[in-house]
Symmetry: C2
Subunit: 370 residues, 2 copies
């Protein structure tokens, strides 16, 4: 059989993720596999935790790269914290908020959803009203809504959930490593991310952080977590403490990749990485304007790493994306959910977030749209 891997050439990944990995991360993936209880591997695990603390801006020691993709981290946060009958409020303004609602509903919780128009941000005043009307155990929101490009006010919502005594779950899949994520300052109790966005690592892991309050909720559950694979009572015994009790075999080589990307992010410094994302974004917005393309999201709520633009009328969505991919080796994202066929999503995440990549895209768009 012809080995198809040999004919794969690098695509400039400017969609909603995966982003372009750092070259060093590709190398790291091929580091010799160690056993999951090898002392040298446990050192790598400890360093990953230490670096994730920096990126998440937290003092919490309960940080675990969940052995699955970002959606697995969402499942992990919700299935550990929610028991049947719990009152849950999901703040929704896109596909990933809807997904939180879907998962919470499957756990037989008493779930309410507070929706905001796609392309606009969650409004703290509306949330305050909802929290004043009913006592919620859990409030869940997406920080960077990948389906729309909206940045939700994670800090303001954290103030509200904190003052109302709620447990606060925040999706940081697309935000982590691209814009500030302040777990402790924002009173976040559980947050999950993904490796394939601003951390510039291939997909496969979901860094998850839990506050002491979240761990207290998990430890004192009345019912067993209906998901053995993601049971944080068990997994924390492998990722922390002295016994390093085997739970499941960790995805060793993917963790090498994450280690390497965190090393690069912390060496560049978070401030410089954020600036690189923002600079690329501003440049993109200016260039798109020149091309006559309109942004979906108002300036105040725009994410630097996920830029939604309206597909101009009369332009064929699929054929433009195909031409970008096949002729220019650039991938951009289609619209998702309600935005399918109406919106393109341009990702500037991780190693993709560089002005020279924006220039390549703009030149290509110029060709395919003329």
């Amino acid at each position: 059989m012809n080995n198809k891997l040999h004919s794969i050439k690098e695509i400039l990944l400017m969609g909603p993720g995966p982003s372009l990995p750092y070259p060093e991360v590709y190398d790291a993936l091929g580091t010799p596999t160690l056993g999951h209880l090898d002392p040298k591997f446990i050192e790598i695990m400890d360093d990953i935790k230490a670096m994730l603390k920096v990126v998440f801006n937290t003092e919490s020691d309960v940080i675990i790269p969940v052995s699955g993709t970002g959606s697995c981290g969402m499942e992990a946060a919700l299935v550990n914290l929610i028991e049947p009958g719990d009152s849950v409020l999901v703040l929704e303004n896109g596909v990933f908020g809807q997904r939180q609602y879907e998962i919470a509903s499957r756990l037989h919780a008493d779930v309410d959803i507070l929706s905001f128009p796609w392309g606009t941000a969650v409004v703290p005043d509306e949330v305050e009203k909802a929290l004043s009307k009913k006592k919620y155990k859990i409030v869940s929101m997406v920080h960077a809504e990948t389906s729309t490009g909206v940045c939700n006010p994670a800090g303001a919502i954290g103030e509200l959930t904190h003052s109302h005594g709620c447990c606060y779950i925040l999706d940081t899949v697309t935000s982590l490593g691209g814009i500030p994520v302040e777990i402790d300052k924002w009173h976040v109790d559980a947050s999950y991310s993904g490796t394939q966005k601003c951390l510039a690592c291939p997909p496969g892991l979901s860094p998850l952080v839990l506050s002491s309050k979240a761990m207290e909720i998990i430890r004192s559950r009345k019912t067993k977590i209906p998901n053995w694979y993601l049971d944080m009572n068990l997994i924390t015994q492998y990722w922390g403490g002295k016994q390093r009790a085997y739970h499941h075999t960790a995805p060793i080589n993917m963790l090498y990749g994450l280690y390497q990307s965190l090393l690069l992010v912390t060496e560049e410094t978070l401030a410089a990485v954020y600036k690189r994302h923002l600079d690329a974004h501003k440049f993109l917005v200016d260039e798109l304007k020149e091309l006559g393309l309109d942004m979906v999201v108002e300036e105040a709520y725009r994410l630097p790493m996920l830029n939604s633009i309206w597909i101009p009328s009369g332009v064929d969505d699929k054929s433009i994306r195909s031409r970008l991919l096949n002729e220019f080796f650039i991938e951009i994202g289609a619209g998702l959910g309600k935005f399918s066929g109406k919106v393109w999503r341009i990702g500037l995440m991780g190693n993709t977030a560089r002005k020279e990549n924006v220039s390549k895209l703009i030149r290509a768009l110029h060709e395919v749209l003329k």
Copy 2:
């Protein structure tokens, strides 16, 4: 920060998994990341499915490498097929049978467990008695029990579950690619495996196959699957059919690794791979006998790829394993569960399953045990 990956040297992995990956698999992991909807990546997915059909010996088209490790595959098989109140029989003779029981119990099923002494095999006559006494919807068993080194009679149990109209779940984490696994011939309805055993790929994926009967059960559930991430009704829409609907971002580079390992396994041919495992095993058994070490499992039920031996009395378990690792760069496995401190587990899986590796281990054991 000093990059710890650079000082990791190759360890001869002779534990219960991960095994030594093929060198080409390390290279494959670094293939440029493609988007999860890129047509070239979808070709890779299709080839993976086609090759897994060969390895699983099945005509089923529902074959999905679950985005998690082997235990995630176990969770996926059970959570999709079991509804609350379902009658489930778990056949147990080791840690992984216990794990099936634990997961099934968390799903609020009516679960019975039929246990057999560790180190011995499941006895079909006993199973026949249990199936005659009570009607079970699901019967679950581990083919190759990694905690003991026992090969259970998967074909004989399949005959019984088939004649009693049960849905048959078989764990093939350690057996797949090392000894024959006959999904269709054995009437298996759901089977999950792992990449880090006989497929000689790092951990991170769990190939899962479902029969048409299993898919019928899943499609006609009365309740939604309480696990969105592993919902096969949704995932099959990405891994099959024409729409390729996005569910979660697939672990692209891990799938490159699996593609490469399957290419190597199918090129070597399954018959030759099985023979390589068996030859290495026979050689190991002979050499261990010379060293005066006793096998835990009777010859008739021994797995070639997982060899349990009794730790000789007066020998310190941990210090011997540490010396093998630190002085000889060889990892062997500790005992698990009841066998902790009593048993060593020597893995001959995938790229590890070669006589020259056995020779290295025997020379090292000779040194550390003298």
